[in-house]
Symmetry: C2
Subunit: 353 residues, 2 copies
């Protein structure tokens, strides 16, 4: 799936006074691009399958943006298990970017808030690894809401970042530290496997334990419930069959040893509802944990990002101000928010070679 | 991995009075063969990847056994998600067997205890699907222990089958019904993903939620703990890297956002121990549930099958008689127990074309 978006002509205070920058968010399942001026592009890119094609893909995609524009990179794709470890992953990503962008200024965002050149980046692996949440949170804290919790629900994970006095408030920098404190919830709106969310599903009044196989994901639950558009041409599903309602229902049925022959639409919706509830519960747990850890008030403002907003539990929203990034920045930018953030942040810093 | 085993010269009462039969257990991840005389062979066979090669593979493998011997088939491989549904899966398996065994008598085991020819089999899909547990349990009930619980811990699942008065005591026939009653526990000693077993892992005194990715399996925990031999040439692992202690440790570390650079052998063993405990707990829960459902005494005899015996919780074994099939039948046969069972059962029935 490839998406090219042209933003409506919005003026951004900082980017309008600096030279434009192209931000790239190199994830484990997607490549997302955004210019500081508000143009964005994204594509599915399964790093664990296609990492050798990364450089070539970057060349293709960057041709959609102005030639020779400075490049700001943030990443999470180094965690893909095609890489023995994160060091090898970061090196591969940096090398691929450098190969794709000769004669162009490139900078890598660090969770310290700095930008590194390629040599510095590979010397500071753990600072440039898994940095995209920090880039987004830093821009949001500076520009959208200085004191809030940023909740970014993506396809694979949910970031819950405490923001205080215009800055990122958590000292946790790595994925591991964030898994421990609860600010990285490894549940998203698409890729999360059903067997990681529930042990049992109720069906026709009885509880069936689920098959611990990668037979279905949260995406299937959302398609069955009409929260995600059917996309029959897209086969990025657990069984490589179409992402349409029929096959999504079939995939959910497989989780309890059945298939489309016996599980009808209504039964599939019942299964999907339970799966969505389990996903929301994990996210709710994370929000409460972070809120309590940082002594935030129960009605602390939430800034919502990502395309999985329907996973935000209603209980969590009640009695709060919720600022939606897609309303603040427009849908086009919101779809590639960390890429936009890293581009915007780079326009604001003096960069020397 | 291919294994050819010649049994020691043991005499089996029934098979010695009937013509030999070759049994095939066509699973979702393995093909297992055994003759009623006690010769066995097995190979890994990822149905979801290689289903088109099934017929050809069967031809190759059957050449290890006597030409023209009658064939008894049992299966579970129809649940692989390369098949839209079980009907299509059963049809594909039956067609592949028929293509591979022209001019040979073939019969398909049904959970009703009958043997069907190919035409009957495809007309009785739900009876021949997922039948291998029933074949093994029927032979065990008739020959090993008439009143017991059979606990068969395989690579992917654990079957817990109540046996009473020499027969299979559960009325549940399908995978779904068995998932509901608890007699099919979808936890095994190799393929079960870690993210389906635990939500958190303790590491250095803190709880980290796990990444809901297919980064590691129970097999990695067993390799790290020395319960499974290292096999560097075998890459049937989550990341397609070798099944050795180094890579198994690296895979376990990935579950909590780390890698081999920071997680040493001792730390990996601590992670592995937690994973094994979670797997044992699921199996223990299943055994207790089935025991209670069928009114079995707490000290009911267990018949243990499968190569995951170390997943049988100690609490469950205490104060019971445990009969090990590998001691009863020899290791060679025990490795392909359902294939052996279906071969033996077919020698005991009159088969007409």
């Amino acid at each position: 799936m490839q998406l090219l978006h042209e933003a409506p002509s919005v003026t951004f205070s900082r980017s309008s006074v600096a030279a434009p920058v192209v931000g790239i968010d190199i994830g484990g399942a997607n490549l997302k691009y955004a210019s500081s001026g508000g143009k964005s592009f994204s594509r599915e890119f399964a790093m664990w399958k296609h990492h050798r094609d990364l450089s070539e893909t970057l060349v293709d995609d960057l041709s959609r943006f102005g030639k020779g524009l400075p490049i700001a990179v943030t990443m999470t794709g180094e965690l893909a298990d095609c890489f023995l470890d994160r060091e090898i992953g970061v090196r591969h990503i940096v090398e691929s970017v450098e190969q794709a962008t000769r004669n162009t200024q490139t900078r890598y965002y660090s969770v310290t808030g700095e930008f590194f050149n390629a040599a510095q980046a590979v010397a500071r692996i753990d600072d440039v690894a898994a940095s995209n949440w920090h880039a987004l949170a830093t821009l949001v804290a500076g520009e959208v809401c200085s004191d809030a919790m940023l909740v970014d629900i993506g396809s694979t994970t949910t970031d819950i970042v405490p923001l205080s006095a215009g800055r990122v408030a958590t000292p946790a920098k790595t994925d591991h530290d964030r898994l421990v404190e609860g600010s990285l919830v490894y549940v998203g709106c698409a890729r999360t496997p059903v067997c990681a969310l529930v042990n049992e599903l109720q069906y026709q009044g009885e509880n069936a334990t689920v098959m611990n196989e990668w037979f279905a994901t949260v995406d299937d639950a959302r398609v069955v419930l009409g929260l995600e558009k059917e996309c029959p041409g897209d086969r990025a599903s657990a069984d490589n069959a179409p992402r349409d309602a029929f096959h999504a229902r079939n995939r959910l049925a497989r989780m309890i040893g059945l298939d489309h022959r016996s599980v009808d639409d209504e039964a599939a919706r019942t299964l999907a509802t339970q799966i969505m509830a389990a996903a929301r519960e994990r996210i709710q747990h994370g929000i409460r944990k972070v809120q309590s850890l940082y002594g935030f008030a129960p009605n602390t403002t939430l800034v919502l990002s990502g395309h999985g907003g329907d996973l935000l539990p209603r209980d969590v929203i009640a009695d709060r101000t919720v600022i939606r990034l897609d309303e603040q920045w427009g849908e086009v930018i919101a779809r590639s928010a960390p890429a936009y953030a890293v581009a915007r942040l780079m326009t604001a810093v003096a960069v020397r070679d």
